[in-house]
Symmetry: C2
Subunit: 623 residues, 2 copies
């Protein structure tokens, strides 16, 4: 198989084609893995993420767009302006497949254009277009104009990736958007794309990637088996029925729905903002990413009132949680609208809602006189007419505009929770790992998540290991979420490695409730012709990727230590089934065992580990 | 007296000083008059208002800052991006006086800076400063940063003039702001300043302008007499008590409060948004412009709730009307907040509210199926999550952000009502004269305003002639607002000429309820040493100014004809004391008489009129 990158220099508008050799592909697969490897080799240590030296890798994987098993994804990798280490994010929709159909398996953006441009990629031809008229505009308008310019208005044909005003204004929590409502949300990479002067990328073409597979017939057979397994799984079914927001009630019932900026584990208005209620009141249709039969995406509408929102996609569980429970906003009308605006402005909805929750806590403390007088005065001045009281949806909505254009307090909200809280001298009000805001599972109530979060390479993230699957959902088997069990450590590590493969190949993680590494061995043989491929190699590949990512942080000399926010380690939950719990015990017990399994010490891979994984070229980082 | 301009070329950052000779000063006084004269001489015909060839005149007048009779004003003149003819606007606060104290009686901005700058003027020294960090920011933040940079944080010292995001994004309804809450609002001149790359101007210094007057002692005596007269007038007293919003109930009672985009003349929620209610619920303090004892400005606050607004100035009658009655928003909380945001973003509140009212009408008609299908579809797409139903304050608030940054429908709102309505094929939904949105007095209920509006040089405006004063307030004597009386024509012309002088000298128009031209004769003698100055010369000077402004439009070959929006001429008011009335009869009767008095024909000054006024140099325009 040929895996072809277009290396696009924005400073010179020169494009060079580059083939990834078979050996590298087998060692890093594609997507997230290949991105980590190239970034570690090519991005110099210590650079400013917004400098010319940063590079953006927009990568698909070898089975993306093969009409099978939810393979409609792409991955973005760059040095993150939010964490200062390797950032990466992944998105569905249609862009990944269409990028391949357009002739490229991945793009590398280098340098920077002085004037904003958008890029069209059509059947291998890359062109640069003036984007001055699009700069400052939202994602929805941008996509519309580009489609009209290209003469392709049918939604199922071609795809636009774009960045919104948030990214143009260098928000550290800006999301790469595609197909209007899909986001490669985390770690602020959209702002790196914007810093290169790129507003959008159009991809369209006729390449038949399925035909390029080693054994198409066998591949389709294996894929069908897997799809059947996936579609029959009860979690797939409830994802279809209620969307990801099906989790609101489940996680709330476990006392692990972070509420009021992680000071509580249950939200009394959880049902109001649940997937069940979304389906009942707002749902107009179900939708899937390219080639996906699960159809977990919601098409919703708020028909009238102050939060009227047109038919549009979302909101997802994480969006609802961060902008809802975490801020105490129990009004789903407002959350549907907030989701729409956050997409249009191009924000990471998790980081945004979490940052607003942090602001609400800071505001409450300022009103109580708990901030230094000067800082409180400045806060009130910067807020002006914003009233960030717990539960006020109007503050949330206005903050989206203010952060997108960095107005007043918006200038700090756009920086994310950590910098906001530090600015006001209350760093503990930001709930983050490595500077990235944490998602919707309280590790005090689901203790395996303590390890999953702390060891996540990109920062506060539920997608490196989704140990909720065994602690709560019983996949592959059920554990007590509050019980210490060292088997969880093995499972967390296994998930991290398996998911590294999944994010590289690339398929949707929702496959993994039904699948295990063993399900991908035959598929990969058929796709790639790797006749001797095994479960062990698959997991070792994932482990190689995981270590490569970690090496980026180690080389930066920062943000590679594995820990959790003070609040989660020291403040017991005051409510719900996990009342009285912290995440301290779990983290302290799990982490040494994890390091043993990983061959790491104090967050750093040992030299022998790198040798075992064939990462000798990076030995210089740890020696 | 020396009247000194600084001519600032932004392209080269070169400043040249220029003295206005005594003869020109006596012919055009200063401010609005001098601006009109210089603009007509210096701005070439037919240029794009945003081109390098446009010039911005920021002018004070010869008695500005003389600690007497509300002389704290300045005037801005340039070719208007809203009307395409001469634009001008006037503002109080402190900037006018401080510009003089800083050593200049006026500024002319020419050319354009590539990178945004702000300008400091301190005791005759003009410096250019990088304004990149201020570009995109609101007015409040901009002023704060500039004051901190200059080390002058005491509010009563020095003054900042600035433009907000609205102007940066070339809104045609952007207001020049100063002292945070004061606006030279009309005709979109802030965007011309922004097009020159200028974000703000700081003025500070120790010049004693009072000492430069011809006979300071006599001037102070005359000024004291006038101040006494003004302060004793009942209208001055009610302006102090209730602010300009005292007019809400008064004009509503006359059935002339334009409601629901001028489809009605009374608003059932008028009391909710009245000056009386403002004083009762929101008022924290009264405030005046530099050296003013009337103190008509409001200092208000909304303490809690969705429309929480910090202590800030306003709102004025026009703001409340345009964003309230005209849009059917009867919630004063929302209007106080909207006023705050409109100031911070730098919008003309009259034009903005009127444009939103126009949008609401278009939306209603689109929902009823009265728009072409394609246009309705586009409207709904551009609205997205905005719900511009009559009376929805949340739509108003969000539209402020969207227009400031030209997002989706905001891109059209930023263009003003006329262009918005034309875009959707319903030009009659925009209530404007010469492209400028009309203010808060329905000429169907106050018929002298038909003439005042139609003949206003700058477009829909109540400040060229404020015939409400005699038709409603009984100053100088009471007329029947619904009765045809040709004496009104004389009074309208007299006011236009008198106000031209008032705007040039410059004092606040609220003086003119108590004063007449005769009150300024002795004052001008003392100030200027014009011993033979008379009432006749004062009014002829005003007439000269009025004709000069008109010549600008005549030369452009557009927008000089005097008429009213179709709705006001053809649709009878359905409600209130003026039920059944249109403005047609009044306009048709008054206009010929007015032209006779003016020596005009079909909106154009006759050659003999120009000769009579000593405007021979402009004869080429009319011959």
């Amino acid at each position: 198989m040929e895996f072809k990158l277009a290396r696009i220099n924005l400073s010179t508008q020169k494009v060079t084609e580059e083939k990834i050799d078979e050996k590298t592909l087998r060692r890093f697969i594609g997507g997230r893995g290949l991105g980590a490897y190239l970034a570690l080799k090519e991005i110099p240590k210590g650079i400013d993420p917004f400098s010319l030296e940063n590079k953006v890798y927009i990568l698909t994987g070898p089975i993306v767009g093969t009409a099978a098993i939810e393979s409609g994804r792409y991955h973005v990798v760059a040095k993150s302006p939010l964490t200062g280490i390797l950032g990466d994010a992944n998105s569905g929709g249609q862009f990944g497949p269409w990028l391949r159909f357009a002739g490229y398996d991945g793009l590398v953006l280098e340098g920077a254009s002085e004037d904003p441009v958008w890029i069209s990629i059509v059947n291998g031809e890359i062109k640069f277009h003036d984007a001055k008229h699009l700069w400052g505009k939202g994602v929805i308008h941008t996509e519309k104009v580009i489609r009209e310019t290209m003469g392709v208005t049918k939604e199922s044909l071609g795809s636009v990736l774009s960045v919104g005003p948030a990214a143009e204004n260098r928000s550290r929590i800006a999301a790469v958007m595609n197909d209007r409502y899909r986001a490669a949300g985390r770690s602020g990479l959209a702002s790196v794309i914007a810093s290169k002067g790129v507003k959008a990328i159009w991809a369209y073409g006729n390449r038949k990637v399925l035909d390029e597979l080693y054994d198409k017939r066998k591949y389709m057979e294996e894929a069908k088996k897997l799809i059947k397994k996936i579609l029959e799984h009860p979690i797939s079914k409830s994802l279809n029925e209620f969307g990801t927001a099906v989790l609101v009630n489940v996680i709330n019932a476990h006392g692990a729905l972070p509420t009021k900026n992680w000071t509580r584990g249950t939200f009394e208005k959880a049902f109001n903002i649940s997937g069940e209620r979304l389906a009942e009141v707002y749902l107009k249709a179900r939708k899937g990413c390219w080639g996906c039969a699960i159809q977990c995406s919601r098409v919703s509408e708020v028909e009238s009132g102050p939060f009227k929102t047109p038919i549009s996609e979302g909101p997802e569980y994480e969006t609802i949680w961060a902008n809802g429970a975490d801020t105490m906003i129990g009004d789903l009308d407002a959350l549907v609208k907030a989701n729409y605006l956050l997409n249009d402005m191009g924000f990471d909805t998790i980081s945004f809602g979490s940052t607003v929750a942090t602001l609400m806590e800071i505001y409450e403390r300022a009103k109580k006189g708990e901030l230094p007088e000067e800082k409180a005065k400045e806060l009130f001045e910067l807020l002006g007419d914003v009233n960030p009281e717990w539960g006020n949806p109007h503050a949330l909505i206005q903050l989206i505009w203010m952060a997108a254009y960095r107005n007043r307090i918006g200038d700090l909200v756009a920086e994310g929770a950590k910098r906001l809280a530090e600015y006001f001298g209350v760093p503990e009000a930001a709930i983050h790992v490595r500077g990235m805001e944490m998602p919707a599972y309280d590790p005090r109530g689901i203790n395996s998540m303590a390890l999953s979060y702390a060891t996540s390479n990109r920062g506060g993230c539920h997608l490196r290991a989704y140990s909720v699957s065994f602690d709560v959902l019983g996949v592959p088997k059920k554990f007590d979420p509050l019980g210490i069990d060292m088997e969880k450590v093995q499972l967390v590590k296994m998930q991290q490695d398996y998911f590294s493969f999944i994010d590289s190949v690339i398929v949707c993680k929702f496959n993994t409730f039904a699948s295990g590494p063993e399900d991908y061995v035959e598929l990969m043989k058929a796709a790639m012709g790797w006749e001797d491929f095994t479960v062990e190699e698959l997991l070792e590949t994932g482990e190689r990727i995981y270590n490569t990512e970690r090496l980026f942080a180690v080389r930066e000399g920062t943000n590679y230590r594995d820990t959790l926010p003070k609040r989660l380690l020291e403040e017991p939950l005051p409510d719900g089934p996990a009342k009285g719990r912290t995440a301290k015990e779990a983290l302290e017990k799990y982490l040494p065992e994890y390091y043993k399994l990983r061959g790491w010490e104090d967050g750093k891979p040992l030299p022998e580990t790198l040798k075992r994984l064939g990462l000798e070229e990076f030995l210089y980082i740890v020696s």
